[in-house]
């Protein structure tokens, strides 16, 4: 009985905070838009009894999902989001791995400080940090002024409101999520394994490829998923740094909800996004599980 209650707690949590909202969104995605409050029909009316529920169910249809396939804006936005998420995940890995490696190789007494420095940005609001990037990347921004001053360029670079700014924003924001799992994997790596590889004829570089990389694979995979999954639905970074030229599904979703006030279509967009995200999330879970099994 006690075990039942213990298990019930996380399940109730999931039910209240995930499943119920999901069903509400799913229901809205099957409705039609209407000039009303709330802005869709049908609404469930329990006072009409059984008849009311029946009428409500017949009012639901898949119209909005069909609409998503008809207007090319949506699949273009999904595709563009996937591309941006993939590229920025790769970039985050390229930047994050050397940092994690450096941290794991740093003297013991430095590691806590370095870890602190990685986590420190979380102490400031995410929005403020993204706004700060506007100040850095804009044409009159800090970066351009510095480059002009050093004489490397004579025309200010246009970075803000391009995809490059989005990449910078995503890499910057999600870097800790990449560094921490890789660092955890590298930290556990036994130094004598590298020595053994060298002893058996590896150069420093080949020992890195043949031992360090394969043994930090789980950290790399975990980090990539932790960056890719939120980056796919990212809204704030593309809308603040990406300008109107950057098409991302998070932004489309926001506009459907708040500019068009078309809740049913917006809900359909959200449901499809969730369906796309389920794939990497399941893969991520399997990676974690495999890792846990290997450690036993």
């Amino acid at each position: 009985m006690r075990r039942f209650f213990l298990i019930a707690v996380p399940y109730l949590w999931l039910l209240a905070l995930f499943l119920v909202p999901f069903i509400i969104v799913l229901k809205i995605s099957l409705s039609d838009t209407a000039l009303a409050i709330p802005p869709y029909t049908p609404t469930l009316d329990f006072s009409a009894g059984w008849q009311g529920i029946k009428e409500f169910l017949t009012g639901l249809d898949l119209e909005n999902f069909v609409w998503l396939t008809e207007d090319d804006l949506y699949w273009k936005a999904y595709l563009s989001s996937l591309m941006i998420a993939l590229i920025s995940t790769a970039l985050t890995l390229l930047v994050g791995y050397p940092i994690a490696y450096g941290m794991a190789r740093a003297p013991e007494e430095w590691r806590a400080t370095l870890m602190m420095l990685i986590i420190l940005p979380f102490w400031t609001s995410f929005l403020i940090r993204v706004y700060a990037w506007i100040g850095i990347l804009s044409q009159e921004g800090v970066l351009n002024q510095f480059l002009l001053w050093t004489g490397l360029i004579d025309q200010p670079l246009i970075i803000l409101n391009t995809k490059i700014a989005v990449y910078i924003g995503i890499v910057y924001t999600y870097l800790p999520f990449m560094i921490l799992p890789i660092y955890a994997a590298l930290d556990r790596l036994d130094e004598s394994l590298i020595e053994a590889a060298e002893d058996l004829g590896c150069s420093r570089l080949s020992a890195f490829w043949l031992v360090t990389i394969p043994l930090s694979r789980n950290g790399i995979v975990a980090g990539c998923f932790l960056v890719f999954i939120p980056a796919l639905g990212e809204f704030v970074i593309p809308s603040l740094l990406g300008g109107s030229g950057t098409l991302m599904i998070g932004k489309v979703l926001w506009e459907e909800f708040f500019s068009n006030r078309d809740w049913p279509v917006a809900s359909a967009v959200a449901i499809v996004l969730l369906a796309i995200l389920v794939i990497p999330i399941v893969l991520f879970q399997r990676n974690q599980q495999k890792q846990a099994e290997a450690e036993q």
């Binding site: 394994l193 020595e195 053994a196 002893d199 058996l200 004829g201 031992v211 694979r217």
Partner: protein
């Protein structure tokens, strides 16, 4: 061993495989190895023995190429190897933690070093099969390291380090992680493999029994210096210092002053009111020079009456008895307060013990039973 005794260290013509020449290694202000010279010969099973922090692991890591000497030179087969990285040395190492690659199977672990030399595939396969057979691991080739037992892992580590047929194999506490029974079996296996392959082995250990069992020669180290380098029996029977005598096995140390008394024989005056002891020594002592007699417990005889022809005999009472099954150790307290240990083999089954606590007993030993050492 064949009829001719294996003792290249006694042959002045023999060329050593490894030669440490005045090697010093410092880490910051700490001197790990202090001006040390040592020759190790081909096909030897050489043990570096000492307490933790004595520098034995540093010696091994310098041979492996993971550390470089601060001063002096290390030669391998006549060539200076200081500064040569580990992957360019014909030396392989078996790590204390085994350092098996967890993401590779047993087979791939053993093949790892061979693949680095880009040898042809059939040659690699034949060599790995040979190594698996040597270490009796054929059945486990497909397993990952975490799917086999500690003893099997130890054999994989050995097979992997032997696969490249190194001139010299270094073993860092190779049996430290095994339980006692398995350790003893593995010691003989190691000796067997060493003889079969003809590889020179250098083993680092803090376990004196292990060093005595496997090694052709043992080097006892302390604080970065070699205390004594000799065959196990010489280390045990004729230690050259109190430190070595005390480190290897059990020993009674009796301190006193020496007086020459005949050829290579000395009279030792020790505690007040006790008869002087007589002992022989090849090393000469001046009259009145301070000395210490080191005598092993099994060389001390315990009896109820004073043996008639005993040269050295002292009386005391039994303080403690340690029964170990095969032997019993008696701790006997002399009137002066000195405690001397005497060992007897329990050759008869369930025989009544002749002595019990507080019994007055006589301890005796011969004139050659102990080793006379300088203070």
């Amino acid at each position: 061993m064949n009829s001719t005794k294996f003792a290249p260290w006694a042959d002045p013509e023999a060329k050593p495989l490894i030669r440490f020449q005045n090697v010093t290694k410092r880490f910051g202000t700490f001197t790990a190895i202090d001006n040390l010279s040592l020759d190790i010969y081909e096909r030897e099973f050489f043990a570096l023995l000492g307490p933790s922090g004595c520098g034995k692991t540093t010696m091994m890591r310098m041979l492996g190429g993971f550390e470089n000497p601060t001063e002096g030179r290390i030669e391998l087969a006549g060539k200076d190897i200081s500064g040569v990285p580990p992957n360019k040395r014909a030396v392989n190492m078996m790590f204390q933690s085994y350092a098996l690659f967890p993401h590779l199977t047993v087979w791939d672990n053993i093949a790892f070093g061979l693949r680095r030399d880009s040898k042809p595939k059939p040659e690699i396969e034949a060599r790995v099969a040979e190594m698996l057979k040597l270490t009796r691991l054929e059945k486990f080739a497909k397993r990952k390291p975490h799917q086999i037992s500690g003893g099997q892992r130890q054999r994989v580590a050995l097979a992997r380090s032997l696969a490249k047929a190194p001139k010299l194999l270094l073993l860092d506490e190779p049996l430290g992680a095994l339980d006692k029974k398995l350790r003893q079996d593995t010691q003989f296996e190691l000796m067997d493999i060493q003889e079969k392959t003809g590889t020179t082995f250098v083993i680092v250990t803090h376990d004196q029994e292990e060093a005595m069992t496997v090694a052709s020669r043992v080097a006892v180290m302390d604080e970065g210096r070699l205390m004594q380098v000799a065959t196990p029996d010489r280390i045990y029977e004729s230690p050259n210092s109190i430190y070595v005598a005390d480190f290897i096995g059990e020993v009674n140390i009796i301190e006193g002053t020496a007086t020459p008394d005949g050829e290579e024989t000395y009279r030792i005056d020790w505690a007040d009111g006790q008869e002087p002891i007589r002992a022989t020594s090849a090393r000469s002592f001046a009259t009145g020079e301070k000395c210490a007699l080191a005598i092993r417990p099994e060389k001390v005889t315990i009896s109820a009456d004073r043996p008639a022809e005993a040269v050295n005999a002292v009386q005391g009472k039994v303080l403690d008895i340690a029964y170990l099954g095969n032997i019993s150790t008696y701790h006997v307290e002399l009137p002066s307060g000195t405690v001397i240990k005497a060992q007897t083999a329990n050759t008869r089954r369930i025989s009544r013990r002749s002595f019990t606590w507080d019994d007055p007993v006589w301890l005796s030993w011969t004139v050659t039973g102990g080793v006379l050492l300088a203070e």
